[in-house]
């Protein structure tokens, strides 16, 4: 593979663009220059750190360290799901439901891909395992966060209708079916949209990266397709798990709607 390597000067040139727009913000008094520069700095530091960590992990090819890195990613993503709940499940529950659903979905899908389609040697080779896990989890996380939020929000808004169904003898599953459907539709909307728009509107980052690195476009497309299917599978698995566990937490064994278990009640 031959690809054009970037040196410090090339990066500096692209960073000049950021400085340029910051200057523009100063001139126009938009007051976004501070946030923009801080975010840019954070991005540079975080990615540099990840680069170092990945280099080390790729050298080691150790199941223990690869597993620990994967675990750290899952825990960060769980925190992100918790932070995105507004008046939803209480923080610990949101974290618990989100993290466990994500761990289950992302681990299943990643291990499935590594042992069947990609088959690196050894199967846990971090060069394959970690990027795959990262891409699957980034999307699964969004799906779970959206699904849980829509579920709790919908149960609040449609409380009267849900309780009317319960009063007429519906089970909790049946009374909450409309809300369950809405939650899953919301959770899967981003991935369905991106499946439909990929290639026409956007060229996915991973595929673009491979093409820039000199890979034949057809091969890059094959990889991208596999990733998209894995993401769709992971997101669906994670969102369905999280929404169903959430459904149980929102109700009890006597088929009652338990909004008192939500934050801010």
């Amino acid at each position: 593979m031959n690809y054009i390597q970037l040196d410090t000067w090339d990066l500096g040139l692209s960073a000049l663009l950021l400085l340029g727009v910051a200057a523009l913000s100063l001139v126009l008094q938009l007051k976004i220059e501070g946030k923009l520069l801080l975010a840019g700095l954070r991005c540079a530091l975080q990615l540099a750190l990840v680069g170092l960590v990945l280099t080390k992990l790729f050298e080691l090819v150790s199941p223990l360290w690869t597993g620990l890195a994967a675990l750290a990613m899952v825990l960060f993503a769980g925190r992100e799901i918790m932070a995105r709940q507004e008046r939803g499940f209480r923080p610990l529950w949101a974290y618990g439901i989100g993290t466990s659903a994500m761990l289950m979905a992302a681990a299943t899908v990643t291990v499935f891909a590594l042992t069947t389609a990609v088959r690196p040697e050894p199967w846990y080779d971090p060069r394959y395992a970690l990027p795959l896990l990262g891409m699957i989890m980034g999307n699964t996380m969004t799906g779970i966060a959206l699904g849980l939020q829509r579920l709790t929000e919908g149960a609040r808004q449609q409380r009267a209708g849900i309780e009317a169904l319960l009063c007429l003898g519906a089970t909790r599953r049946k009374a909450l079916l409309p809300v369950t459907r809405q939650a899953l539709t919301t959770a899967l909307m981003p991935i369905i949209n991106s499946l439909a728009a990929t290639g026409l509107v956007s060229l996915p980052g991973m595929m673009t990266g491979q093409i820039l690195a000199g890979v034949d476009p057809i091969d890059a497309v094959k990889y991208q397709l596999m990733i998209m299917f894995l993401i769709a599978g992971g997101t669906t698995l994670g969102a369905v798990t999280a929404v169903f566990v959430g459904l149980h937490r929102l109700t009890d064994a006597r088929d009652r709607l338990r909004l008192d278990r939500l934050a801010g009640e």
Partner: protein
């Protein structure tokens, strides 16, 4: 029929009473006294302590959906889960007769639920609950938004159901309605339930 022993929950002190087959108990009390809390606890919509039995069977031994079919509850502001009225009934066509009796205009089925008046929705929610043939019906101001004529129609329909054995726990703000419809009258204040004073009962 319905036996309540030391039923309590936050906002409701331990409450005991018995509601017989075909009996009607009227429940009055100031706003926020716990009337709705009591009805919701009886319908098992909220957790509560104590014992509730139906024909001698403890509530815990009856699956909750089945319990709520036998002990119906019509809240003061009934909920609707679909804009199509027909979705709320097992068989809307068979409701034409009772709907006419309750002075509900025949065109309601063509309108969206959100376009119906409060009074229409209140009476339709009552029909919806009656369709499941409950043994006990918990009513939270079923005639609150109704005019005199419709109120009389609701009372007449419920009296007929009562003669077939339906037991009623009827929350009302109207003292005269309580005297008209009920065998016994309860008063609730700050979560404490008591049977109306004897002299008040004799005054009727």
């Amino acid at each position: 029929m319905l036996t309540v022993k030391s039923l309590s929950r936050p906002g409701l002190e331990p409450t005991s009473f018995e509601l017989g087959t075909g009996e009607c108990i009227a429940l009055r009390g100031p706003s926020g006294a716990g009337k709705t809390l009591l009805l919701r606890a009886l319908a098992d919509l909220d957790p509560s302590d104590g014992e509730v039995l139906l024909d001698g069977t403890p509530r815990g031994r009856i699956p909750a959906p089945q319990w709520r079919r036998r002990v119906g509850y019509v809240p003061a502001e009934p909920g609707w889960w679909s804009e199509r009225l027909g979705d709320h009934f097992q068989d809307w066509d068979s409701q034409a007769g009772p709907a006419r009796r309750l002075k509900i205009s025949p065109g309601v089925a063509e309108r969206r639920v959100s376009q119906l008046s409060t009074g229409e929705r209140q009476r339709l929610a009552l029909l919806r609950a009656l369709e499941h043939r409950p043994e006990v019906l918990l009513l939270d101001e079923p005639t609150g938004p109704l005019d005199e004529e419709a109120t009389a129609a609701v009372e007449a329909l419920l009296r007929e159901k009562q003669s077939n054995g339906l037991a009623l726990l009827w929350v009302t703000h109207d003292k005269r309605q309580a005297e008209r419809v009920a065998h016994r009258r309860f008063w609730i204040d700050r979560g404490r339930l008591r049977e109306a004073l004897l002299d008040e009962a004799q005054a009727r």
